[in-house]
């Protein structure tokens, strides 16, 4: 045996390695446990938000807020997926390095509430008369509530709007008012060989579900009916077949790989006649850097067309603000929410073209001047007719969307939708049982 090996035998090496691994593990687990204490005076208020026109507008105004609270604000802007992944990483470690969280209440809130990651804002919103909680529209306010607690405050709302080319529908007497008319006009206008398409929209399995929801509701269906899967109903089947036909036959190639980022430029560059997506993105079609001149000059905005069950689009709070349960700056975080979602800021932002969630702001015609008049009318009608959700209201929204979206893809690819719907319906029914079990496990 050499001297060196005697000095550090296998056993002692094993003991040492195990000790260090144990210490590292204890340290890492310790880092995951909630920390208390006071933040330093110089610690910034950390806000994580989606890279969105709302966040950009707030970023330009943060100096005013910093002066008000005497604390620096650090605003991090990410994409929606990055934001959710960051929350998962940070909050799984009970991180205190995020104070205000911009969340998609319909996508994240139930799960975050299940994980106990969001601070209860009920007393703050209801106890502050200046904030006027009841001024928020009913549907977004309901989405902010989980198990009777207010966990987020809505700041941006959206509805699906029919974007269309006025020059192409002049002969038809204006934009289609029904889904049948939309289908026939889109088919007529499609010139695949010339690279022009009657309709463009989201076609990704997961990403398309929220936009498809309005087609589903307008066919008389719903994701969940009486606590059971609703995607196997005849109404849902009709909605799947309709959307698959529309995008598969009148849409561009590669539609199943399209989300907002891929579909929007196709309409903006004048390669499609109709496009249904969130009204919050309308400014893209008036922006010379994004839209062609033809589109800028001829784009029109219409309410969601009526299906067999009427026009039933969604009207949702797309983005809300919450407070990290582990934040050490919860009071300052609330001050930020109060400022950013307050009546004054909501009015100012809506006047800049960002649709908010306050009734008083929508009633104020001055806040609507920056929107094109036909868009204001479309938004008003869609809001009046709309349902407050655009995806299944479950804990695992991601998995639910993956299941619900499968027949959509089959339809777009021209496959027979019925067997895929049957299979997806069975899978969704199983999923709902498991999801309920998870809900009850808390």
């Amino acid at each position: 045996m050499s001297t060196s090996s005697r000095l550090l035998s296998r056993r002692s090496f094993g003991r040492l390695a195990a000790g260090i691994a144990g210490a590292a593990g204890t340290g890492a687990l310790g880092a995951c446990s909630p920390r208390a204490g006071k933040p330093s005076a110089g610690a910034p208020l950390r806000i994580m938000a989606i890279n969105h026109v709302w966040s950009q507008a707030i970023k330009r105004r943060t100096k005013e807020f910093e002066e008000r609270i005497g604390r620096r604000v650090s605003l991090t802007l990410l994409t929606a997926d990055q934001l959710t992944s960051s929350y998962n990483v940070k909050l799984n470690a009970s991180g205190t390095d995020v104070d205000v969280m911009m969340v998609r209440a319909l996508q994240d809130q139930l799960l975050f509430a299940h994980n106990d990651w969001l601070a209860d804002l009920t007393d703050r919103v209801e106890g502050d008369s200046e904030f006027a909680w009841t001024d928020f529209q009913k549907a977004p306010r309901e989405v902010s509530l989980t198990a009777g607690k207010v966990l987020s405050v809505p700041v941006v709302t959206e509805r699906p709007t029919l974007y269309y080319r006025k020059d192409l529908v002049q002969d038809a007497g204006g934009p289609p008012r029904t889904l049948d008319a939309l289908m026939s006009t889109a088919m007529e206008l499609t010139r695949r060989k010339r690279g022009f398409y009657g309709y463009v929209g989201r076609g990704q399995r997961n990403g398309a579900v929220s936009q498809w929801s309005s087609f589903l509701y307008s066919h008389g269906g719903d994701f969940v009916i009486d606590g059971k899967s609703g995607i196997g109903s005849p109404q849902a089947l009709a909605a799947y077949e309709y959307y698959g036909n529309l995008l598969g036959k009148a849409g561009p190639p590669g539609a199943t790989n399209m989300s907002l980022e891929q579909a929007m430029p196709i309409f903006a560059q004048g390669k499609a006649a109709f496009y249904i997506d969130a009204d919050a993105i309308y400014s893209n079609f008036l922006d010379p850097k994004i839209a062609s001149r033809t589109v800028r000059d001829t784009v029109g905005f219409a309410p969601f067309p009526a299906g067999p069950a009427g026009a039933r689009p969604h009207n949702i709070a797309s983005w809300s603000l919450g407070i990290n349960k582990f934040s050490l700056l919860r009071d300052d975080a609330w001050q930020f929410i109060k400022w950013a979602a307050g009546p004054e800021m909501s009015a100012a932002l809506q006047a800049d073209g960002i649709p908010g969630a306050r009734t008083s702001v929508w009633a104020n015609s001055k806040t609507l001047r920056s929107f094109p008049p036909d868009l204001v009318e479309a938004m008003r009608l869609n809001a009046k007719r709309g349902l407050g959700y655009d995806r299944p209201r479950v804990l695992q929204v991601g998995r639910a969307r993956d299941i619900v979206g499968r027949p959509l893809v089959a339809g777009i690819l021209g496959e027979s939708v019925r067997p895929v719907v049957r299979d997806a319906d069975a899978e969704f029914a199983d999923f709902l049982v498991r999801d309920n079990r998870h809900k009850e496990s808390r």
Partner: protein
Amino acid sequence: MTATEVSPSRADARPVSGGARRTRPPRTFEQANRRLKWAMLAPALLFVGLMIVFPLAFTLDLSLTDAFGAVNADKSHIGLRNFADALGDARRFWPAVRRTIVFTVGAVVLETVFGLALAMLMRKPFRGMRWVRTVLIIPLLATPVAIGILWLLILDPTNGIANHLLAGLGLPRQEFLGSVGQSLPTLMLIDVWQWTPMMTLLLLAGLTTLPEEPEEAALVDGASAWQRFRYVVLPMLGPTLTTALVLRAVDALKTFDILYATKGAGGGSDFEAETLNVYAYGLTFDYQEYGLAAAVLVLFTLFIIGVVVLLRRRGGRKNA
């Protein structure tokens, strides 16, 4: 007491094996030596403990639980149920295994063939060789996400330049990454575009170290260029080739960023580019099913270890 003297009390207290009294270093020296040895080892051991042993042990433990929603939430140990669920999942797990193998084998084989061909071409010095080498490493320097977005724009079925070029040549338009059937082959070709230069550089380094005499002897014996390559160069290049294959295969197995940047969550609408890595990421960040995700990752790790052992054994046998 001098440095060579033995402490009587400790020497008496300890039994000496073999009947012979061993001369031990003095207590102070031994202690100093032991402390020094641990001090020298500590950074490496701390790193291994923190970055390898603990995550592996934690993942293994997590894979035996029903962890859902949050990692630090209450969870129960459920034995091997997650492994059974994963191995019994014909809808997502096994297709992901198949895609992982197809992607890795397809990409690595093409990269090896093209990389070897380029290395043979660049073996003898030629004018402009430095420029060629510089151009070759450009794809290696770019980040995979940037490359993914670049190719996504080039291959966009409606607005991409690739279809404009095809149309100009009178060829039919292709959907590329927008197609369920074409996505995986297209992604393999993007991987080949990015990583062939690395294979070229590795194999070129191996070729430059080979002795010239065996090849010259074969030439004198009348061997053709192909025969010299097949029976002289290739066997001598064996160890380098094996190392390059192992490095590239392990890297290709773990490919994630380019798949996620081009196809998004779940590897596309029909899961057409969902490999095991993408599947495990989705289970973690989209579904928050941490127990099942950990089980998939444990299986994936075992799979990678199996591939490395297989390649090393085959390489070792050939090179013996």
